[in-house]
Each structure stands twice: as structure tokens, then as C-alpha cells.
Symmetry: C2
């Protein structure tokens, strides 16, 4: 049997409704902050990601779906969306009028060839925003506040915002020198990946997941001791604005993000359930200062974040956050039961009329018995069953059964729409 590829998954029926719900909430919040939708391609030139996400990142080094197309181009299934969104802003000349910032949101699939784990997929959906052309801490803070409020809107309580700063370039240069010195002594005992990281970008070593290496990482010098005055000031400003807007945070010295383009403030949202289960990061992002220029745009900075939809849905499922949400539009309004084969044609036309009025309607077109049709109506979670037989049609009537209340009555055809409007719209 042909099945889904390892690390991919079907999202169907009620599960799909949850995905759509989560995405719609996030989109709605982003739109209230004035962000506009950007849909960039899933396939991009591979060098877009080597240039932006960075050669030294695990994503580019190990996890990209890269291949040659029939025209011998090296193309990659996007592992993230920031690079594509910034590229699209440059290509579409959005920066020409210098009317900053440009505010984009996106939602769509990304691909990383990772070892499949609980709740991690090789194809997964990300929602995120990019605010590009920012030159002050208010913009950084605004995006963090957006992310924070979006999670609140989804029902997450007690979110922990962890923030850190990667400083400006000077800070990072200083820090990298010190880090190299520190790790030099320990390198023999560290994993092969860390050897490579040491050469490419020693900051990446701080991300290492190998247990033994983490001990060494723990005692490494801290970024905070190598910040320039400017970098310190910017970080202090962000913290002050967050506090002013009621957003609590923990400064986490060990927070570096796994993509090379970040500089300045970086952040992660962590979540622990009411039952005390720690779900780790459910959203993350940061400030970037060279990404736009790297992609041939002007020398402007930006900030963005991303959240994995799979991850959000999985945590919300696990923590019962969907229980409080009315996914009522997963229900059917009307199920029509034609009595006898000769009334199926009429019932289909009748169903189409109700559909054109906006009522989600199904009709049994398979000539089944009454009890089987009622079973079908229930399986499809219909609110009302409409019975159309010889007599009803002749008399211009219809029998309506409310499947929740188990009540049945006969309605004149000419009164039906008003009746449905009352029952079905009142219920909403």
C-alpha cells in the first residue's frame, strides 16, 4: 500500500478544522497589527537559503530538500519563510519608496529533513510575520507583543517569553573571538558537528544538543559581557517597552537562534500546561540586521517570528484548549431524506436551493431506508433532518426533525426558509 512519506502526515476532517481555526486566529491578529499576506513559492533557488539562513546552520548543512530540476537548477523546498518573504520584498521593489516598515505575514508549508520525532514533521506549516525597515526598539517590541497576544488569543495562558540579545556586529565579533578561545581547549572532547561549527560560526556551538557538549557550553563566556553600549541600550529599551505593555519576560543568556541571520533581540515563547507539562518553545523569532542587504535590498533591518502550526495544534489538543472553542462550522445544517427513489431528483434540486441560501446541506442520493438515512444524518452531525416523501411534496410540506432535541414537526414549504433562518442562525 502506498502511504505518506516518513515524517509527513495527512490532516483531514476535524483535525483540518483545527488547523484552519488556528491559522485564521493568527492571521486575524496579524491583520489587526496591519500586516499583509505574502505568498511566496515553496520551491526557491538553493542559494537563497545558503545566503540567508546561513552555511553554518544545521538547516542548511543537514536538513534541506535540495535537488536539480529538469533545467539543472539547484532548487530547495523552503525550510523557512523569512528568506523568501524578504526576497519577494526586494524583487517586487517594495523598498523603492522607502516607506518603512513593510509588514508581511505568511502561513504555509516548510520542509526539513529531520529525524521524525513526536510532533515534529518533515513537512510542517509555519505562520509568521516580518516587519522590515525598522530602526527603533518600538518595532521590535511591537512584533514580540503581536506574537504574545496571538498566543493568548489561541487560549494559551502562562506563556513564558524568553529573550536575549545577540548584540550588534561589533558585539558579536568580540564575543566570537572569546568563544573560539574558550572552545579551543575543549574541542578534542566535543562532537564532530561542533568541530565544524567551530570553524563556520562558534555561536552555533551554543545550540549543540549533545549532552556532553552541553556541559562545556554551560561554562562558556556569556554574550551579555561583550555587548557594546548601543547593543545594551537597544536591549534595555525593548525590555522597558515590553514591561510597559504588560508582557513579562525572562532574560535567557543561552538563547541563540539556529539561523545565521539574527542579530539584536531574539526570543522564544515557552509553554507549560496547567498540569505542569513543559512543552518547550511554541514560537520564536528575532531581529536581523544584514539579511535584507544580503539579498540585494537596501541596508535596512527587520524583525520577525514564526510559529509551527503542527506544534500549536498538538499542544492545544493535548492541553484541551480546543474544548473551549466552538468549531460549530464543522457541523452540517441540514440532511435531506428522500422517501423512495422517485423523490431523489426533487430532493437534490431542493438541496441545491438550501445550499444557495448558505445552508450546509447534504442529501441521501442512494435510495436507502429511513433508519439508515437517519444514521447517516447523525454521523454527519446534521442539526436538522428534512424528510421529503410523496405526500409531503404533493402537499407542499416538509417534515423537519431537530436531531439534538429529537423533536419533529411539519412545516409548509413557503415557511421553511424563515423557519431555518430562525433555528439555525439562532443557534450560532
Amino acid at each position: 500500500m502506498i502511504t505518506v512519506l516518513k515524517g509527513t502526515h495527512d490532516v483531514i476532517l476535524d483535525e483540518a478544522s483545527k488547523y484552519t481555526y488556528v491559522e485564521q486566529v493568527l492571521i486575524r491578529v496579524a491583520e489587526t497589527y496591519g500586516f499583509k499576506e505574502f505568498r511566496t513559492p515553496i520551491i526557491e533557488a538553493s542559494n537563497l537559503f545558503t545566503r540567508s539562513v546561513g552555511d553554518s546552520s544545521d538547516i542548511v548543512r543537514k536538513e534541506m530538500y535540495t535537488f536539480l530540476d529538469k533545467g539543472e537548477r539547484s532548487i530547495t523546498l523552503r525550510p523557512e519563510l523569512t528568506a523568501g518573504v524578504v526576497r519577494s520584498m526586494v524583487n517586487n521593489k517594495l523598498f523603492i519608496e522607502q516607506d518603512y516598515p513593510k509588514k508581511a505575514y505568511y502561513v504555509g508549508p516548510c520542509f526539513r529533513y529531520e529525524r521524525p520525532q513526536q510532533g515534529r514533521y518533515r513537512q510542517f506549516n509555519q505562520f509568521g510575520v516580518e516587519c522590515v525597515g525598522v530602526n527603533n526598539s518600538y518595532r521590535d517590541s511591537e512584533v514580540i507583543i503581536l506574537a504574545y497576544n496571538a498566543l493568548k488569543m489561541l487560549g494559551f495562558k502562562d506563556i513564558t517569553l524568553k529573550i536575549n540579545t545577540l548584540g550588534d556586529e561589533e558585539s558579536r565579533l568580540n564575543y566570537k573571538t572569546v568563544l573560539k578561545e574558550y572552545f579551543k581547549e575543549h574541542l578534542n572532547s566535543m562532537c564532530p558537528d561542533c568541530h565544524e561549527r567551530y570553524n563556520l560560526n562558534p555561536l552555533r556551538i551554543l545550540d549543540c544538543k549533545v549532552h556532553e557538549d552541553q556541559e562545556i557550553v554551560k561554562n562558556a563566556p556569556k554574550m551579555s559581557n561583550f555587548l557594546t553600549e548601543n547593543a545594551k541600550k537597544a536591549f534595555e529599551e525593548v525590555k522597558a517597552i515590553l514591561t510597559e505593555n504588560g508582557v513579562k519576560y525572562d532574560v535567557d543568556d543561552s538563547l541563540v537562534r539556529g539561523l545565521d541571520y539574527y542579530s539584536g533581540v531574539v526570543f522564544e515563547f515557552h509553554y507549560t500546561s496547567k498540569q505542569g507539562k513543559n512543552y518547550g518553545a511554541i514560537g520564536a523569532g528575532g531581529h536581523y540586521n544584514k539579511l535584507v542587504k544580503e539579498l540585494e535590498g537596501p541596508d535596512i533591518e527587520g524583525i520577525g517570528f514564526a510559529m509551527g502550526i503542527e506544534r500549536l495544534v498538538s499542544v492545544m489538543n493535548d492541553d484541551n484548549l480546543f474544548d473551549e472553542i466552538d468549531l460549530e462550522d464543522t457541523m452540517l445544517d441540514v440532511y435531506i431524506l428522500p422517501i423512495g427513489e422517485e423523490n431523489i431528483a426533487y430532493s437534490l434540486s431542493f438541496a441545491n436551493k438550501l445550499r444557495s441560501l448558505g445552508y450546509a446541506t447534504e442529501v441521501c442520493l442512494e435510495n436507502k431506508g429511513m433508519s439508515q438515512m437517519f444514521k447517516k444524518a447523525e454521523r454527519r452531525r446534521a442539526k436538522l433532518a428534512l424528510i421529503l416523501g410523496e405526500n409531503e411534496i404533493k402537499n407542499g410540506e416538509v417534515v423537519v426533525k431537530n436531531l439534538a432535541l429529537k423533536e419533529q414537526e411539519t412545516i409548509k414549504m413557503e415557511d421553511l426558509v424563515e423557519y431555518l433562518d430562525e433555528i439555525l442562525i439562532k443557534e450560532e
Copy 2:
């Protein structure tokens, strides 16, 4: 500069709103017919498509993005969605309870390595439905009516529905034999592709786009003369039900679809604008009888259709169909102008309050002059500009300017929400 790959495109800002609008209308119509969302992966095992879309189709022969992943699996970016949706129904055991039909809709990207042409992309979005487990002509008709009404809902007038039948297997076997005899004589003068088609599936020759071959195709024997009685009866039934439901159609003998899984009724929607411009097919589909079994499901049949979102948007743009549609949610409700740097912090908090009330709000955080801020408000198509200066904040007031009416008034803070509700909700 890194640009989009040939044949792909960015969809951003207002253009993205149009895509979303079109998709939402289609989804809403499908839901009124009781269809449920299915999200299947973009990457699938390659043999899913060789088995379903078929070895003899142009898609599989020439157009698929197929490559090996890091685990040496042959994977393919889906060229269409029917195969994945049916696979997902089988894998997720939806057929076990035999509660037919199963009704799925989908919307998402597909990939075909075609020569890029006006309005055709290598990455494009499809919307479609699949109704699986159908055993009578009502279900076939219902899906065609859904597609027809969906196009009407988008504003298309004067749609031409072309239908044909590919008959049952016996009909097709008879027809293929006769076709082979007919083309045998002409094969020397036909294109290399047709030679291959001749061996793989002579029906595919009817699809040939080469001008000289089309002359030969025109005189080929017609399917309609080789239909079994059952196949004829099924086609007559569909035509009768369509007529009964006010759907006009033209029978088009030359209509065969480019995928191998179709049998029975096939259809295309063609559109000609008010100005007489012929846009060709804007949606198409058909009945399939062996696809489910081919993918290891039960021996049941189905029907579906797909529409290209790029194509729909392009035709609607060209024919001004968006003019009559209110894409008002692309507008901003409020743009806040802080007078002086010292009021930016307050203005940001204030913006966040309006956002939490659901108003799409932006705030100038860059310390600009008044006239520049008004220009920004207009560029962002804000309905209202809110001015927050020293005096306003001290007096608990705000100056509100209606940017359409060019009227300005001073409102007490405590009355602002009511004022906004009235202005902004009334406008909708």
C-alpha cells in the same frame, strides 16, 4: 540578485487578498455541499502518481518534479491532488464503515515542470473536491452542479459546461482497438509523442496539441459510437439531472482528460468574457472507477474536479470581476499619529488596545512630522487617522480624522470605542 525560479511567482499584498477571497468563496460553496477539508502532503512517494495519474499521461511522462531524498526515496512534488486525497482516505481507513460517499475538498499548491506561458505556472494552486463511493448519476451531477455554482458565486456569467463520457471499461476497450486501427495508418506523419501515446494509451493522442496531428485527430472515430448500453444510460441520466437543475451543457466528443484515471462522465468549464474573449477551460474534472482500488482501497468509484486559482484570479482580473467585490478588509481601520517622540510609547500601548478590540491598527513609531504621517496613513488606506499629542493625552482626548470624508473632530477617550464601533462597523 536572487529571484523567483522560472515559472514560479510571488503573490503579495492586494493580489494575495484576491487569492484568499477566491479560495474562501470556493471553500464556502464546497462546505454548503457537505464537503470537508483534506490537507495532504505536498511531497508524496513517486509511485502514487505513476499508479494513479498514469504512466501514459504527459504529467507523469514529462512534467513531474521527482527526486531522491536523503534517504534515497523517490519523492515527487504533487502534480495534482486527487491521488493524495484518495490515498489519504484509504490510509486513514475512512472506507471501513462503508458509509459512502466520503466528501473531501482541498486547496493548495501543485507542481508541474511545464514550459512557462501566460497565466501558467510551475507552482500553482488548485482547489477541488472529491466525492468517493458513488454509484449513481445523482452524485456525478451533484459535483458538476457544485462546480458550476462555485463559478457563479465568483461572478462568472455565461459559463459553458462541456461534457463527454469516456464510457465504462468495456466501451473504452472497444474504442481503443478502433482508435489504434485508425491511427496506425497515420502514425508515420505524426509527432514522436503520439508514437509513444499510441503504445501507452491511444486515447492520449486525442489530447495532442501539435497542429498537424489535430487534423488527423479530428477525423478519428468518436467515443460515442462505441459506448455500451450501460455507459450510454449513465451519460443520459447525468444530462437529464443537469437540465433539471438549470445547468446548460454542450456535449463535446473531443473531450478526453489528460489523466489516466478518468472513466464515465468528464467535463470542463469554459469561459468567454462579456467582450467575447475566450479564456478556455477554468475548471475540469470527471468520474473515476478504478482509482480507489488501484490505491488499495475498496472497489468503489468517485468523481471530482479541480480549478486553478492562478487561472481564476487572472481571468477575474482581466475581466474586471473583482471590481464588483468588496475587498474592504484590505483596508486599515485606524492609523495613529503620535505627535513628538515622547508620545510614541503611549501610542503603541493605545494601538494595542484598539487591536485587542479587533480594529486593524497601525501606529507610526518612527518619530515623523505630521504631514509625513498623514501620507503614511493614506498609503496604508486607513479609514481613520488618530492624532495623539501632549495636549490630547493630558485632556483625555483624541483627534480623529476621517480620511475619506476629510472631516476631523475631537473625541473624549471614554467615548472613543463607541465612536469607532459606530463609524467602522456601519461602514461594512
